[in-house]
Each structure stands twice: as C-alpha cells, then as structure tokens.
C-alpha cells in the first residue's frame, strides 16, 4: 500500500513556529517536524519512495495531532477544529507511527477515489465510511464523546442557566446584539407575531417585550415547556406544533400575523432528508421535510395585509467556513459552496429561488457582524464576516 499526500493539503506556520499540515476538507490538522513535511513532499505523487522509506536518515520525526471538533462547546463556534496551542501529550514519534497518524488524519491517503467518497452524509450514526455533515458530526460529538442529549445540550450551549441571557458566544455577539439593535425599529407594539420554530422562546419573549402579541411554535415539547416556564408575559403563548404538517399549519388559529419570524429554522427545509436514526438533534420529526418553498408558501397564507416575514439564518458562505490566518485578521476559507456535504445552509441562489417560488419578494438583506470591542481571534472573525444573514420578505403583488 503506497501512501501519498492528500490532494487538499494546506501547510501553515503555527504560532510557536511549528509546521502544521492541514486538510481543510476533512477539517483535520497535525503539527509536524520539518522532516515529515519533506517526507510528504517526496511522496506527493504516489510514485516516489514509500513514506517510511523517505524518512530514513532523519533524526527528528514527529507529529502532533491538532484536531478537535470545533463546535464541541457551541454550534456557532469556529468549526475549523484547528488547535493552535502545542499538545505535547499527543506527540507521536518514529516513521511508522507517524505514517499511521497522518493517515488517520487524512494528511496521507492510499486511495484517492475512496478518499473522495468520504465527503458524504453518514447513512447512520456509526458510519465509518462517510464523514457526514455538520449536524451528523455534531450528533456524533455529543452522543459518542460527550454522552449528552443533543436537545438539552442545544439550549445549554446558547443560553445561560434559567434562560436569563444568551451565552457570551457568537449567539450573543452577533445574533442577539443585532436583534437588540434592530427589533426596536420593527414597530411591534400591538402587532401579532408568529415565531416559527421558537425553540426555548427567548426571541419570542424579546418580541413580546416590545408590546407584540406573540405565538411561539416548536415541534419539541421539551423546548415548549422550557419556554413556558422561563417566559411569562402579557400576550405571549407557546404551542407544540409540527411545522412540516402543512395541512394543520394552514388552519393555525391566532392569526393573521403582521410578522412571521424564523431564526435558525429554515435551513432544515433545505438539508437532504436524513432518517432520524442517523442522528438526533434539532430538526427531526421523523417525517421527510417538505420543501422550503411550500413551507414558506403556507406561511404566506397566515400573513396579515401588509405583513412580512423575517428569516434569520446561518449565512450561506460564512457559517461553518474554515478560519485560518492571523488572529487579528482571520481568513475565511471556503471549501464548498454549491454542492455542500458538510455545510447545512442553502447558498444565495437556492434561498432566493425558494422565496420566489413561495411568492415572496426580498425587500432587504442584512449581514450582521460583531460590533463590540475585538478581544480575540473569534471577535476579529465575527467583526469581519457575517455568519448569519437576514432576509425580509413581503408577498409579491
């Protein structure tokens, strides 16, 4: 079996002056001795010497795994999973062990066609052949490594205990801060708002605090009871509701609504259907989702005259994109756009097509960024690149 360099490698200089070989497709990274880089170069085309052979004569041969699941603490963290600090405990030495470690991290591969086939959805939770999309990798991280229930974890990674505030991560720095700046301009007093896929109800409550009458819907009974316990306000209600049941949605009472709001929900209508057994977390009713266009088209029938829809979704380019470069001026690196297998968001054209098919015109697009003081690498990234975008839609005449 001849090992050769994976075709997608990037080589970076780490902060301690160490080399890092990074595979942006698999999001796997290793720090390596210069000899290992030379070995990779000599075996680059698969026709040179065997990798272990190529390392003969070098004294210092080591690699240090620098890979982790980037979103282990929060879904909107840096998904690159590149550990920049040294990890001496992960160091492996000697040509044979190094070759194995490099193969496990897809820096060296033995079969390019098989390697390419890995970039696909998992067919079940434990599917070693396919790397799976973000939700599947997230599910794997939570279930297999952290032994946590993804639904409960989801609330805990976004909100502080008791849902008093949003945790101090990108959810607060970008999403909540943007809404706090913008919602006062939405003139919600006395208006009827439908918060679709409201989760734990935090933003439903925000809308109610501006004087709106708000109905929050979510399929997950746990989220709905969390919301009911945490938020009590005049005109604020929460109901368990499966939104992909369009027939029932059409008959929803309480409307018509002046604002229909969706945040981090519409994406689930673009993702290829995955049977619930392949993961648990967020989006599963067990029913194949309906198309985004027919879902939005049904919501349109619930709008009051002059009403509008606001959709705040993970950004089609920058959510989950890789982050490299200087901490004060990070690079956003795209490794997919049109045919996503890891990413979970529609690109601009796909989103626009769904809006049009549903009979909506886009009257505004916003790309919120972090506007506070830049203290670290994440702040710098969020200040430059929007990881959400917001579409404001009105029914076409």
């Amino acid at each position: 079996m001849t090992l050769k360099a994976a075709p997608d490698l990037l080589f970076l200089l780490g902060p301690s002056g160490e080399w890092i070989a990074s595979n942006p497709m698999t999001r796997t990274h290793v720090a390596a001795s210069a000899s290992v880089l030379e070995g990779i170069r000599r075996t680059a085309d698969g026709h040179g010497p065997d990798f272990v052979e190529a390392l003969k004569g070098f004294d210092e041969v080591w690699v240090e795994d620098r890979t982790f699941f980037g979103c282990r603490d929060c879904t909107v963290a840096d998904a690159t999973g590149l550990e920049l600090s040294p990890r001496p405990e992960a160091r492996v030495t000697g040509a044979e062990a190094v070759a194995t470690a490099l193969q496990e991290r897809f820096i060296l591969i033995d079969d390019e066609a098989a390697y390419r086939k890995r970039f696909a959805l998992k067919t079940r939770l434990l599917d070693p052949e396919h790397l799976g999309n973000f939700h599947q990798q997230m599910g794997f991280e939570l279930l297999m490594r952290q032994h946590k229930d993804p639904e409960q974890w989801w609330v805990a990674q976004k909100f502080e205990e008791g849902l008093k505030t949003v945790r101090d991560n990108a959810y607060r720095k970008v999403q909540e801060e943007f809404l706090k700046r913008d919602v006062p301009k939405w003139a919600l007093a006395g208006k009827k708002v439908l918060d679709v896929g409201c989760g734990a109800g935090y933003y439903s409550h925000l809308f109610a605090s501006f004087g709106a009458e708000v109905l929050g819907l979510d399929q997950n009974p746990e989220h709905v009871s969390t919301a009911r316990n945490a938020f009590r306000a005049e005109g604020l209600r929460f109901e368990v509701f499966d939104l992909s049941d369009l027939e029932s949605l059409k008959r929803l009472g309480g409307g018509p609504f002046d604002l229909i709001y969706l945040s981090d929900v519409l994406l689930f209508y673009f993702i290829p259907y995955q049977p619930p057994s392949t993961l648990k977390g967020g989006s599963h009713t067990g029913r194949p989702p309906v198309s985004a266009a027919s879902f939005l088209g049904t919501l349109k029938t619930l709008l009051a005259k002059g009403g509008r829809v606001r959709v705040l979704e993970p950004h089609g380019s920058f959510s989950l994109c890789l982050r490299y470069g200087d901490p004060s001026r990070p690079l956003a690196v795209l490794n997919e756009y049109r045919r996503k297998w890891f990413g979970i968001t529609p690109n601009l054209q796909t989103a626009a097509q769904a809006f049009r098919e549903a009979g909506f015109a886009v009257v505004d697009i916003r790309e919120p960024v972090y506007e506070g003081p830049v203290r670290d690498r994440e702040d710098a990234f969020l200040a430059e690149y929007p990881i959400w975008w917001l579409f404001e839609l009105v029914p076409m005449a």
Partner: protein, 88 residues
C-alpha cells in the same frame, strides 16, 4: 474478578430493547443492531454507558470507526479485546 461473558451479556442487553433475530447465540450475534432498529442514537449512549460500566472499559474514537462496532458479535470482540488489555 472474571468479567461476565461478553456475548450473552450483550445479547441480553439488546433483548431488553426488542426481538433479536436468530435462535442460537451464534445467530443472534450476527445482528446489526442499527439496521435491525434495536436502538436509535440515544440508545447508543446508554449502550456505551452500560457496557463501559459493566466491563470497566473505555471506548475511543478509534473503536467507533470500526465496522465491527455495529454488530453484536463485533462489539463483543472489541469489548473482549479491551478487557484483555485492561491493567489488573
């Protein structure tokens, strides 16, 4: 202490979840428990916790990458290997 024999322990665990096809132990351990719908993804979490507890072992990412992990027999092999290398 000798650990309980892994295969019957696992078969009994899965039989508490549902019907495991086959009449003999040999047949039963061929079962792919995901494909057979014996457990869902949250079920895997309790499977791992129960197995790790009963045999005082720890699975790693490397084990989850193994094809063997999905069948009762394959899982039994992995568990037995881990039990064998465990320091006394």
């Amino acid at each position: 202490m000798t650990p309980p024999d892994v295969r019957p322990w696992l078969v009994a665990w899965f039989e508490r979840k549902g019907q495991v096809a086959g009449s003999t132990l040999e047949e039963k351990i061929q079962t792919d428990y995901f494909a057979a719908g014996l457990i869902d993804s949250l079920g895997v979490v309790s499977l791992i916790a129960d197995v790790e507890g009963a045999f005082s072992i720890r699975f790693s990412d490397r084990h989850y990458q193994e094809r063997r992990f999905s069948t009762i027999g394959g899982l039994a092999e992995i568990v037995s290997e881990l039990v064998a290398v465990k320091p006394a």
